[in-house]
Symmetry: C2
Subunit: 187 residues, 2 copies
């Protein structure tokens, strides 16, 4: 197993979660954050979120490792975030069912340095389409931003993100056909 | 584009959603159902669910096509469903972070005929681990059953499920770099 993606890829990926509606999207936003962590991203920016998701991620990092490898940050002004991202030669990729099909789009992406993947809930401001460098569709059927993010990252990292180990974990899983086996790590 | 997966694969895939908790898991269960539809499954069985998810899927099928290609069914006795599935030479695959890593597991699966993919919410009865033919982990970090299902299906169908077109759609998307373009289909 590798110990992270830092040395394998010449770019880093962060996620921006937009359009969260309180209560209704709580679980979905938590899933978006957990997918970002598990699938190799460095950070998730949450727009208009609440602190419970921050607490959940801190708890996951504490138990399963990754305090230094994955961060969550609340942002009030996501437009400024996108602008500064682009000013620093980063790429902004918006996942939307209206975009270019993933299979066709992925080979076209010329990654300059760092990627910001934007995932929305149901209601996303339309301007994001013109602000993004790429609008990419993980299929053209309605499904889930959680699924779209996971499949995009899985294809981008060619499956290797699922091999990563997080540092300073209190526990880790011993893969098993039928049991739940957990290894408690010595600190 | 193909017009469905029926002729391409010698097996069909259905999904069983377990462990749904009312309200808390509503959105997540809806996403599981939509992913099942969009990623090439024939049916989703919902245990202990409510009718709103059924209505959502019917609405999606009505607008985006697939009334004959994707079904949703509520089941009261999921243990009987699994038993009858196995009695009919079907494979039961449970997605769990404690299972065998997807990369190692996928080549080992000897598909007999039809696959039932079981995805749970937080609380899943432990007996499912021994009932399943395969317990497969989409990574060993906590994340999301929506993401796990999508990545599993994407790898199983080798990306081709995202190319499918549904029959009798009222509308479909015209892929676009920056716009939202929808084609209204003639009936």
């Amino acid at each position: 197993m590798t110990t992270g993606n830092d040395r394998e890829y010449p770019f880093q990926v962060s996620v921006l979660r937009l359009g969260h509606r309180l209560v209704r999207d709580d679980r979905t936003s938590t899933h978006v954050a957990l997918v970002s962590r598990a699938f190799g991203c460095k950070k998730i920016y949450m727009a208009y979120s609440d602190n419970r998701i921050v607490d959940t991620i801190h708890d996951m990092n504490e138990r399963w490792g990754g305090q230094q490898e994955f961060k969550v940050e609340l942002v009030n002004d996501w437009r400024s975030l996108i602008s500064s991202w682009k000013n620093n030669a980063g790429d902004v990729i918006h996942l939307t069912m209206y975009g270019i099909n993933l299979r066709n789009a992925l080979p076209q992406i010329k990654i300059k340095s760092n990627i910001l993947v934007v995932v929305g809930a149901s209601k996303v401001p339309r301007e994001i389409n013109s602000m993004a460098d790429y609008n990419i569709a993980v299929g053209h059927q309605p499904h889930s931003e959680v699924a779209a993010l996971a499949v995009f990252l899985d294809r981008l990292f060619e499956g290797r993100e699922l091999e990563r180990c997080f540092k300073n974990a209190k526990m880790s899983i011993i893969p098993s056909q039928a049991d739940k086996r957990v290894r408690l790590e010595k600190r």
